[in-house]
Symmetry: C2
Subunit: 337 residues, 2 copies
């Protein structure tokens, strides 16, 4: 691809902003409720001059929100694989498996031309991760341009782009239902707590994202450039007692809160409850993230490790109506770039 | 009382260290498990030279710990009033009401001569409170001397003494079962997470507390001095929607994490989800604490406010065996000072 080539992509007519996919991640819950309240006034105000997009606000897991829990029966944000969405459904299915199909009906069907153009799913973490966009692609120019826009617009909070290298079929999270999609993950915030600074960062992130979508739809050309992408390589579990499976150590104080600071072989990783230091035994330096995320104790993840690479993002603009008509079959796949 | 008078108090023969009274406050859970493991070795090591105390380690709410929740049916740490411990018990009683009677049998009965001498109940908070001892008395010289000892021994974490002015009969928490007792509350730590720095501070706090008890029992005289005591005055709830009862604001970013920093009338208190600042309308400056504690959303507490006063703590020593025999009836009351 030539550096000065402008990639033309379909219009983003329908955008979904989802909160409460995990019922105890409160910034997204309160932000979606707030956006619903002001929907008719503030959010659409900018649409006067620029091309509007229809914005759907969704509280993804109302029962879990009601109970103040991450989930009722099982993690909703692992229920959007093709297998779960399209397999047989028993009467005794967990609530979240039923709910994932409802959401797939509203926002999808996943992988189909009817799916919404963009899903932004709001999450909080107890890890010191700042604001991260987490996506399944390192070449989804829409997601990467939105990320670049947030980088330009937002100060006071570090921003990163995380890539989970999983196929569309195996992808499991709500944001995979849209033609484009990402989780907007912000921390540190304890679950079942809302902190003003984290709430405000999320609110700004969503506002800037919607601004960008309207600007894109209105025909503006966005220049290309580089983005640092953190691709997940592996997870590391806590040391555990072989009999009870209870953890026997916590994240080392020198690693705690140092998400995205390069971890070298031999660096402190854990401190056992008796006070011993355990070091990182890997063979290469990698970037830790999701360090000491509350909800991942049960998943056997103390932290995740990523490799960083620089991705060249091309200039993009929206397709003209004529181009869009000519390209319509491409809608059925996510590989339009 | 003369300044140079030495108050003689009964020996502290039996001490209970309790963790997991709230099942998702993990420092205490892992610390009690660790102390049980090393009980026969490290904890009693110091006992060779000094007068030993029998130390009972208790996991208070095993079912809640197992489930990773604060409680199963109701907050265990509100189930130790005389009314709940001594009232009629239905078969359908909440689990924690049954468990509070079991614990009262193990560590009490509350208010009786058979009760353990000291209960140290381990807690975590999401608030930025450092290490606090929370007690029902501002003149329990044992608790106040232990606090002074921790102040002398521990650096790197702020220490405060909080006083809830509630009668022994109405006192509701596990630590009220002992002749002396306090909650050791440490934060900030998200619930269902363990952070090494918080765990280590708790471990040191417990070790220094037990060191002090052994030293006291061995006959050492502890000099008097002053302690700043924060007496709880009132709680403030979040602004709420009158219909849904959902909160409509979070703690203001200028107040968040500023526990024990004097709050003046007119200071920012909340930031609404639409971005408005709400100020403190009180008539006097007070000290905020438990700012944005996760578990208190459901109790209608956004923060608590305290008045600070300076308490003169007298010199103390343990009673001789002869003094103790002469004073034995005083055991039945907590007002032996």
């Amino acid at each position: 691809m030539e550096v000065d080539e402008v990639v033309c992509l379909p219009k983003l007519s329908r955008v979904a902003v989802c909160g409460g996919t995990h019922g105890n991640e409160l910034s997204g819950v309160y932000l979606v409720r707030e956006l619903v309240k002001v929907d008719k006034k503030a959010v659409e105000k900018k649409a006067e001059e620029e091309e509007p997009a229809s914005v759907l606000m969704v509280l993804s897991n109302p029962r879990a929100i009601q109970q103040g829990q991450r989930y009722v029966d099982t993690d909703l944000n692992r229920c959007f694989t093709h297998a779960i969405l399209n397999g047989p459904m028993l009467d005794t299915a967990p609530y979240e498996m039923i709910r994932s199909r409802e959401l797939n009906g509203m926002l999808g069907p996943k992988g189909s031309p009817e799916a919404v153009d963009l899903v932004c799913d709001l999450h909080n973490t107890t890890a010191n991760m700042g604001l991260c966009l987490i996506a399944y692609s390192d070449c989804d120019w829409i997601c990467l341009h939105i990320f670049r826009h947030l980088q330009r617009q937002m100060s006071g909070i570090p921003l990163r782009y995380i890539h989970f290298d999983v196929s569309n079929k195996e992808s499991y999270s709500l944001d995979s239902v849209g033609k484009h999609g990402f989780a907007m993950e912000i921390g540190p915030q304890p679950h079942s707590v809302v902190r003003s600074n984290i709430y405000t960062a999320m609110k700004l992130g969503v506002q800037h994202m919607l601004d960008w979508v309207r600007s894109f739809n209105s025909g503006r050309i966005f220049e290309g450039g580089f983005v640092d992408v953190f691709t997940m390589v592996k997870h590391i579990d806590y040391p555990r007692d072989s009999e009870t499976q209870n953890i026997t150590a916590a994240i080392h104080p020198q690693l705690q809160d140092r998400d995205f600071c390069l971890l070298h072989p031999g660096d402190p990783l854990f401190q056992t409850f008796s006070g011993e230091t355990l070091t990182y035994k890997g063979h290469q330096p990698l970037y830790p993230f999701f360090i000491n995320e509350c909800a991942y104790y049960e998943k056997g993840i103390a932290l995740s490790l990523a490799r960083r690479k620089r991705v060249m993002v091309p200039a993009i603009r929206v397709q003209t109506e004529q181009e869009q008509r000519a390209n319509e079959p491409r809608y059925t796949s996510e590989e339009e770039e």
